[in-house]
Symmetry: C2
Subunit: 338 residues, 2 copies
């Protein structure tokens, strides 16, 4: 049995879902993988829960966000670095919200973890997108790994497919529907709604965020295609390197024109190799019925890799909710220790 | 740089394609993965090519089957065990034809490799299907690995998806179109051909084997779903444990009935978990438009995993020809050493 110390940063929807999943899957991970996954700290801005005991913090799954600060294990002002300095090395599970301007608070957390020789499984995108090379170099130097399935389309296995399932093949192009929200909205517009109506409906249903800009304007898809390209194709793309257009400008006339040619409009994150160099972009493209993503409708996501030796391989589906993201984090942790 | 000794058994279409792919990908594997993949022997029934030199056998890619026995490196009567006894440990690349009665000659080759402490990447199914538990136990005992992506739908990443991309999720069901040949024939029958006409056309086009029984009668799909289930779900299924029906009995009336309900008929390898136990079967099932495999047509293959935490994840595409199988073998070797 391998004992794995874990610290979660961020106690929002994803962090909470991860803690609940961990309790649900503890026995399964022991039996199937020989892994004893022990949560020792759960940190947020003003402190954290901490337990040095064998098996760590337990019974947190049912805790509401309000109850965290009155829990017996709560330490006001506890920082991640303090927690890491006491614990045996393990995995930081980074679940804070994505900030594409500063990368914080995830950036500071990831840097502290790498400095302490901890592996990182990240669901937040900001730090990885802004400081990709620096953070992965640091991880290599410290002999630890950064995994970010949870940041690259949650339970849709984009990175594992690109780096494990297609190992040895060269990726010549990628097309990805990487955001369920925009795919849903485009589908509703195809059915006759205006953009504003479709967006409002998606917000009412909890599909779109209250501030939907990151999805709607393509920024979320840009982060994902960038992280996938950098991980799988050896690129060192930053957000400034790819043109990004969202779905705000899509009109009924655009949809009708695509439809008259038998096509659908999809917001795609794209990567294309030309003359040994890769170019990425995010935009709305017409997709033909023979394209593997043509039938990916509603809030579903999908990605297709075109390769030199394996033909094309498409992956579709995978839950996008906090539980799906938590499952992607758990998967990364298991694969780090296998 | 890690030096990896390799021996190929079987010099047919898959073995030949693997040797050619290896020459094409040598530099890429050095640069991307730090792996120096060195082919030292290529063995068939009556002898083999052998070179103990650094970098091993080179320039074999262009060799026709007839030229093998007049090559300067040819050793009449050379056996795998002899070759393994001289070489540093590495990977056996098992490319002989599948024999579901005896498992030979692959079985003897795999046993010899495990005995000598070599890893195995297999494209043949017979030995693994007939002696699954015994061979994987032996590998565990010797501290080596058996990988069989090439035996489980070639470049369609069935096993990597199940075991890596979905790690930590519990698979509640699997549906797979695991044989391109039968999918193609059913599609042609939908378009109006009789079974015999569609089979003959597939044989004329090189899609179906001259002896198509293994595909047509479901045996090939049975081997694949069995290996996927045993690898991913911890089952210990043998061929006697699953009912297998092929496509020979499908009639125009069956197809018309499915079509009248908006469905298509597909030959599926299936696994279902009920009451903590898994049941596998192979047969022709009606598939609805909302099913992730409904649009997998022609010679394409696909597999969908239904899980407890990640929703469903479908993978489609992936080349089925010898080059696609060779790419799956290369992928397994890379992943063994990462």
């Amino acid at each position: 049995m391998i004992h794995v110390s874990m610290v979660v940063t961020g106690l929002g929807r994803v962090g909470g879902a991860f803690i609940r999943l961990l309790e649900e899957k503890a026995d399964f991970c022991r039996l199937r993988f020989g892994l004893d996954l022990e949560l020792h700290a759960a940190i947020c801005r003003d402190g954290g829960l901490f337990s040095h005991k064998r098996h760590g913090l337990t019974g947190l799954g049912a805790l509401s966000r309000g109850e965290v600060r009155t829990h017996p294990a709560w330490n006001a002002g506890l920082t991640l670095s303090e927690a890491l300095s006491i614990l045996d090395r393990g995995v930081l599970v980074e679940c804070t919200p994505t900030d594409l301007r500063t990368g914080e608070p995830g950036l500071g957390y990831i840097q502290a973890a790498l400095h302490a020789g901890w592996h990182v499984a990240a669901a937040s995108k900001g730090a990885l997108v802004l400081r990709y090379r620096e953070l992965f170099d640091k991880a290599a130097e410290r002999g630890v790994r950064i995994k970010c399935s949870g940041a690259t389309a949650a339970a849709l296995p984009t990175l594992d497919t690109a780096t494990v399932a297609l190992a040895g093949a060269e990726i010549t192009a990628i097309d990805g529907i990487l955001t369920g929200t925009t795919n849903h909205i485009l589908g509703r517009m195809e059915a006759g709604m205006s953009f504003d109506e479709a967006l409002r409906e998606a917000q009412d249903k909890g599909i779109a965020e209250p501030d939907p800009a990151l999805d709607i304007d393509g920024g979320d898809s840009a982060c994902k295609i960038l992280l996938i390209a950098n991980s799988a194709c050896g690129t060192e793309l930053g957000l400034g390197d790819l043109p990004v257009t969202g779905i705000r400008g899509v009109t009924k006339a655009d949809l009708d024109q695509a439809s008259s040619q038998g096509k659908k409009l999809k917001l795609l994150g794209r990567l294309i190799r030309r003359d040994e160099a890769y170019k990425a972009e995010v935009g709305v493209f017409p997709v033909e019925p023979s394209h593997p993503l043509y039938h990916v409708d509603g809030t579903n996501k999908g990605i297709v890799f075109f390769t030199d030796t394996m033909g094309h391989v498409a992956v579709t589906g995978g839950k996008s909710d906090p539980r799906g993201t938590a499952a992607a984090l758990l998967k990364d942790i298991i694969n780090i220790y296998r």
